[in-house]
Amino acid sequence: MKKFLSTALMRGLFWQFVGTLLGAGLITGIRAALGLSVTDKFFFTEPAWVLGGFMGVLFFLGGNGSVSDWFKWARGIDTPEHHEERYSGWEKYFNVSLDHKVIGIQYIVTALLLISIGGLFALIFRTELAQSQLQFLTVDMKLFGQNGPQLYNTLMSLHGMIMIVSILLGIAGIINYVVPLMLGAQDMAFPRLNAFSYWVAVPAAVLLLMSLVLGGFGTGWTGYPPLSARAPVGVQMFFLGVFTAGWSSILGALNVLATVIRMRSKGMVAMRMPIFVWAAVATSIIALTATQLIGLSFQLVMFQRLFGMGFFDPAKGGNPVLFQHLFWFYSHPAVYVFVLPGLGVISELLPVFARKPLFGYRWVAMSSLGIALVGFVVWAHHMFTSGMNEYLRLPFMYSTLLVAIPTGVKFFSWVATLWKGKIVFPTPMLFVLGGIVVFLLGGLTGPPNATVSVDLHLHDTYFIVGHFHDTIFGGFVFPFFAALYYWFPKATGRRMNETLGKIHFWLMTPSFFVLTFGMMRIGLLGMRRRIVDYDPALGFDTTHLILTIAGYLIGLSVLIFIYNFFNSIKNGEIADGNVWNSRSPEWQVPSPMPTHNYDQPFEVVGEPYDYGLPGSKYVEFAAPAKSKHITKG
C-alpha cells in the first residue's frame, strides 16, 4: 500500500489536488481584494475553478516527475540517454518510465479503465431509455446539482468524450507498443516526450470526470454555443479536459512521425514497412495538424464565458455557426484518427491468419493516406441543416462521398486477401473478421448521410447514432480487442484464454448487431438522438428494451475480457515463441521483449507479407555484435 501511495500516479494526483486548490485560492483571494463575490453554487467561482483546473494539470506534471529531466537539462545537468529501470513488476507501470513498451501498456490500461467508465455511463442512461417516461432520472431526483434529465444529458455527453479520449489513448497504446518493434528501433524518437504525452492525459481524464460533479454540462460532447455558453461550471472542466488531452494526441503524433521517418532498420524502405506503420503515419498526420482546432474552439467558448468575448454570441456580433466550422474541422477528421489504426490492425493481422500475402499492399497503404487527406475537406457535412451558406452544401457532399473510394479499396483488398487462403480462426482473427463486417455496415450507412437531401431527414436521429457506433466498433473496438489478444503474448510471454476470448466475441458481436440495427431502425422512424425520454405514441418501447438488454450483454462481454486480460498476466498459458507463426520482426525473438528491444539489429531482406512463398524472409538478424547497443544514424 505504501509503495502504491508513493508511485508517480498517486504523487501526480496529490499535486493536482494541491494545484487546483492553489489556483482556485489565488483567484478567490484576488476577487476578495477587488470586492467581488468569492463563492458560488459549487463553492468556488467559475474563474477560480478554471485557473484551479489549469494549475492542477501543471502541478500533476511537475509533481509526478515526468518533466524533471527537461528541468535538469535547463539547469545544465546531464541525464543518461536511457534510464535504467528503477522499478520492476507492477510498480513499473505506475511510475514514470521512458520505455515505449511500458508507456504503451500504461496507455492501454488507462484506455480500458476509461472505456469501462464511459460504458458504465452508457448503461446508466440506456437503462433510463428502456421504457418511455422517466423512471429513475426523474425531475425530482437531485445529484451533483442536477436533476434527472440534466444528469442524463451530462452522462450522455461524458459518454461521448470519455470514449473519445479512451480511443485516443487506446490507439496511442497500440502504436507505442508495436511501431518501434516493427521498425527495429530501440525506442520512440523522443522517449521523454513520449512519457509526457501519456502522463498529460491522466489529469485530463480527471478534469473530464470533475465536470460531472461540478454541475455537469448538458451540451453533448459537441458543446455547441449558445447552449455551452449557458451551461453550469462543469462545462469549463470539460473544455479544459479536452484541451489538455489534445496535447497528448498532438505530441504523441509528432513522436510517431519522427520515429517512422528516422528510426527504421536497414533496408526498410517505405514500401516495405509493415502496413500498420502506414496506418500509424496517416493517423498521426491528422492528429498532429487538426487537433488544435477543437482545443481552439473550446477555448473560445471558455473565453466567451470568462471574459465576455462574444465570439459566438449574436448579441455581440458573434456567430454560433462559426463554432461548428472550427469544431468539425478537427472532429470529423478525428473519426479517421480513431479508425485508421484499427483498419491498419485488420490489414496487418489478416495475412497472418489467412496465410497469404496482403492483397495490393501499395493500394492499401495509399488508401490510408487517401482517407486521411480527403478527411480534411469534408467537415461541413455535419452542418447540412445548420443554416450555413446554401451553396456550401454541394461541394461538401461531393468531397464526403469521395471517402467511399479509398475505403472501398480496403474492403476489396481484404476480401481478396482471404480468397484462396488457408484461413485459421483463433480469437484475434475472429475480432478482425467481426471488425470487417461491422465496419462494412458503418461504411454502407455513411453515404446516405453525405447526400444532402436524405441527410436532412437522418441528421440528429438515432440512425446517425447507429451508423457512428458501427464505424467506431468496426474501425476501433473490434480491431483493438484483436490487437490486444494478438500482441498480449509479446508483452507478457503468456497468452489469453482462448475459450473466454471466444465467449467474449460470440456474446459481443450479435448483441452489437442488435443494438445498432435497432438504433438505425427507430432513427429512421423518428427517434431523435440525445433525448432523455420519448413519446410512447411512437411505439418504440419494445425496441428500446431490446437495445438496453443488448447494451448490458456488450457490457458483460467486456467484463469477461477484462477478467481474462488481468488473469492471464499471471495465469495464462506460457507462450514465449512465435505464437501466430507471423513473419513480423517482433515475433522472431522470444517473448516477452527485453527492455531495449532487439539484442541484434535486423535488416529487411524481403516483402513483409510473403506468406506461401517458400524460403522467403522478411527480416534477417545480424550476427551477434560485440558491443551491445549499436547507435544508429
Binding site: 444529458n153 474492403f411 506461401g612
Partner: protein
C-alpha cells in the same frame, strides 16, 4: 473459375434478398410532403446500392471463410499472389462513377426540395426553451399549434430566442436548425391530411425531449375555418386575462410552466396565485402581485424548493403586460 461463378450467383441472390427484405420491413415513416417524395426516392436508390455493396463484400468474405479455411490436419500456407493492378484500378474507378452518380442525384434532389413556389404562404416561427410558437402575421394569430393547408407550399421563417433548436417533422423529412441571431427558412408542401408533431432535433437543454408541438395538416376549408376561429378568439381575448394568456404563449412561458399542475422545468401555475411559496433556503412568502412581478423580471431572486431558477432568463415586460399575466394566473385555480 468455379468459385467465381458460385460467388457471383450468391452475390446477386443476396443483394436481391437484402433489398426485398429491407423494402418489406418499411424503413421510413409515412410520406406527408412533396419534399418527402423526392427524399424517399433517392433513399430507395441508396438502399438498392447498400444492398448490392453489402452482398458484394459479405458473400465472398463468408464464402472464403467456409471454403478456404484450413481443414483439420492441413499445414502450409495459402496461394501466393500479391495483387492485381487491373483489379485495383477497376475497383477504384467504378466506385468513382457510382459516387459521381449519387452526388448528382443528391444535388438534383436538393434542388427539388428547395424549389420555390412564388405563392408560398409564410408563417413566423419562434423557437425557445422548450416550446414552439407560430405566428400568422396577416391574420394577427399566435398559436402553439402549427396549422397548414394541404397541397400549398408554406415557408416558415424561423427565429430562436435563446439557443440552437431544430425543426423536424419526421413525416415531412426535412429538418432545419433555428439559430440565434438569424432567420432560417423551412420550405414545405404538405400532401397528406393528418396530425403530426414537430420535435426539436438539436439538443437544447434539460427539457429538450419535450420540445414537441402539434402540427395539423387541414383541407383548405378546414384551415380557413381554423383561421376564422382563431381570429375570433384573438378579438375576444382583448380582456386582460386573454391578453395575459396570449403573452404567456408568445413568450414561451408554457415551455417550462404547465397550467394543469404537472411538473416541468419550472413550477406549474395551477393554483399558484395567492398560494404560499416555499423556498430552498427554508423561507416562504405569499405569491402576490409583487412576488410574481419579481419572479418574471428577476427569476434568480428566489429559488423555489425543488427547482433550479438559473434555467430561466429574466423577462423585460411592461407593467401593463405583467398585470395582464397576473390577471390570467388568477383564473388558473
Amino acid at each position: 473459375m468455379r468459385h467465381f461463378v458460385i460467388v457471383g450467383i450468391l452475390v446477386i441472390v443476396m443483394a436481391i434478398l437484402t433489398y426485398v427484405g429491407l423494402d418489406a420491413v418499411g424503413l421510413m415513416p409515412v410520406e406527408a410532403s412533396l419534399q418527402a417524395v423526392s427524399i424517399d426516392h433517392l433513399w430507395n436508390w441508396q438502399v438498392i446500392m447498400m444492398s448490392f455493396l453489402f452482398a458484394l463484400i459479405f458473400v465472398p468474405l463468408v464464402y472464403s471463410l467456409v471454403v478456404f479455411r484450413r481443414r483439420k490436419g492441413e499445414i502450409g500456407d495459402g496461394e501466393h499472389f500479391e495483387g492485381n493492378t487491373t483489379l485495383e484500378i477497376t475497383w477504384t474507378v467504378l466506385p468513382l462513377f457510382a459516387v459521381l452518380a449519387f452526388a448528382y442525384m443528391g444535388a438534383y434532389s436538393l434542388g427539388e426540395i428547395n424549389r420555390v413556389d412564388p405563392d408560398a404562404l409564410s408563417i413566423k416561427v419562434k423557437a425557445q426553451q422548450f416550446t414552439w410558437t407560430f405566428e400568422y402575421p396577416e391574420y394577427g394569430i399566435i398559436s402553439k399549434e402549427l396549422h397548414l393547408p394541404v397541397n400549398q407550399q408554406m415557408v416558415l421563417k424561423m427565429e430562436s430566442g435563446d439557443v440552437i433548436h431544430s425543426f423536424w417533422v419526421p413525416e415531412f423529412r426535412v429538418k432545419q436548425d433555428v439559430v440565434p441571431g438569424r432567420v432560417t427558412e423551412y420550405r414545405i408542401t404538405p400532401t397528406l391530411l393528418g396530425n403530426y408533431k414537430v420535435r426539436c432535433a438539436e439538443l437544447c437543454g434539460a427539457s429538450h425531449a419535450y420540445m414537441i408541438n402539434p402540427v395539423i395538416v387541414n383541407t383548405q376549408a378546414d384551415y380557413d375555418a381554423w383561421i376564422a376561429e382563431q381570429q375570433a378568439i384573438a378579438i375576444a381575448s382583448q380582456t386582460p386575462e386573454g391578453k395575459g394568456q396570449l403573452l404567456t404563449v408568445k413568450n414561451g412561458c408554457t415551455g417550462c410552466h404547465t397550467v394543469d399542475g404537472s411538473k416541468l422545468v419550472g413550477p406549474s401555475w395551477l393554483g399558484t396565485y395567492g398560494s404560499i411559496r416555499k423556498f430552498a433556503d427554508g423561507t416562504s412568502t405569499v405569491a402576490d402581485d409583487a412576488y410574481i412581478t419579481e419572479s418574471i423580471r428577476n427569476p434568480l431572486a428566489h429559488e423555489v424548493a425543488g427547482f433550479s431558477p438559473s434555467t430561466m432568463p429574466p423577462y423585460t415586460l411592461t407593467d401593463e403586460e405583467i398585470a395582464n399575466i397576473i390577471a390570467y394566473l388568477k383564473t388558473l385555480k
